[in-house]
């Protein structure tokens, strides 16, 4: 594998199609700079500022960009809000489409065949395997990402967090809670 990637890099560099320095920058960006802490900041802002939450609902791409999170695979974003009635779950049945600017690159299970096939057929069962048992009367809405449109789940704000700062709130927002395979951590 390593030799074949090196070979591709060599050939494409010789043809002037890629620049090895740019490759290094991209790797560094996704290894160290972009990750779910970005999405957590978006969620915490939405919890704290109703106006921002409204904006996020109407135009997620612009609202997220206002916090500085822009770029590849975040060009067209939609935020889906969990409520007492509805839980949202995101999958990509096609391959592995994922909102990189807010969540970084997807975890291995998100890209694996069982999740991609079963999240749509049996979302409740999948959530139980993640340790999340929802009340029977709570609806689960599954969103299938595409190459054009990516989703961010806004989990419900935990009880007992009134008056918390955004930095404190962001600590409660897990990656899985923004995919929908989890909920935010409790305030305890």
């Amino acid at each position: 594998m390593a030799a074949r990637v090196r070979a591709l890099e060599t050939i494409l560099t010789r043809k002037g199609l890629i620049d090895p320095a740019a490759i290094d920058v991209i790797v560094d960006t996704y290894e160290t700079k972009v990750g779910p802490r970005n999405g957590a900041a978006v969620v915490a802002r939405a919890w704290n500022e109703p106006d921002f939450a409204d904006w996020l609902k109407r135009d997620a791409t612009a609202a997220i960009a206002s916090l500085g999170f822009t770029g590849r695979q975040g060009e067209h974003m939609q935020a889906v809000f969990n409520t007492d009635e509805t839980h949202n779950l995101v999958v990509c049945t096609l391959c592995s489409c994922y909102p990189w600017p807010v969540l970084g690159l997807p975890p291995v299970w998100y890209k694996a065949p069982p999740y991609r096939s079963r999240a749509v057929i049996d979302p409740r069962g999948v959530l139980e395997e993640f340790g999340l048992t929802l009340p029977r009367d709570k609806k689960i809405r599954v969103w299938d990402s595409t190459a054009e449109l990516r989703y961010l789940v806004v989990p419900q704000r935990p009880d007992g967090t009134e008056g918390w700062s955004e930095a404190q709130l962001a600590e409660l927002v897990t990656r899985d809670s923004m995919i929908g395979t989890g909920v935010a951590r409790g305030a305890a």
Binding site: M1, A3, R4, A7, L17, K111, A112, P113, R118, F130
Partner: protein, 121 residues
């Protein structure tokens, strides 16, 4: 089906888990991003090739072969676009392998170290 059998996470949620298991995965990822950024293909085109590879039979249930499939999709797309044919990749990859074997441990591997190096490559 247990969580493990389903290919779902078995440990605590890894927010800070390493993004790539091995360096070549990072490079293969970045090559696709860089080529797309130069406008050499659309993301929809890429997603279609990747989808075809990840949906081929025999995919690891735990997703551990994802970047193998990513690389296969990249090679296919490069061949289709005429940027890098399969024979060319085979030849340069073999040269890299020979160079790696010929390079003393601890020194950087350079294609120039390929003992069979000739002008064609």
């Amino acid at each position: 089906m247990s969580r493990h059998e389903a290919g779902l996470p078995v440990g605590p949620e890894g927010v800070d888990a390493p993004v790539f298991a091995e360096p070549w995965q990072a490079e293969a990822f970045a090559i696709v991003v860089a080529l797309h950024e130069r406008g050499l293909f659309t993301w929809a085109e890429w997603a279609e090739r990747l989808s075809a590879e990840v949906k081929k039979p025999g995919a690891a249930a735990d997703g551990s072969d994802y970047y193998e499939r990513w690389l296969a999709a990249l090679e296919r797309l490069m061949a289709e676009k005429g940027f890098a044919g399969r024979d060319e990749v085979d030849a340069v990859a073999a040269a890299w392998e020979r160079a790696a074997h010929a390079t003393p441990h601890g020194q950087p591997i350079l294609l120039e170290n390929d003992p069979k190096k000739h002008s064609g490559l």
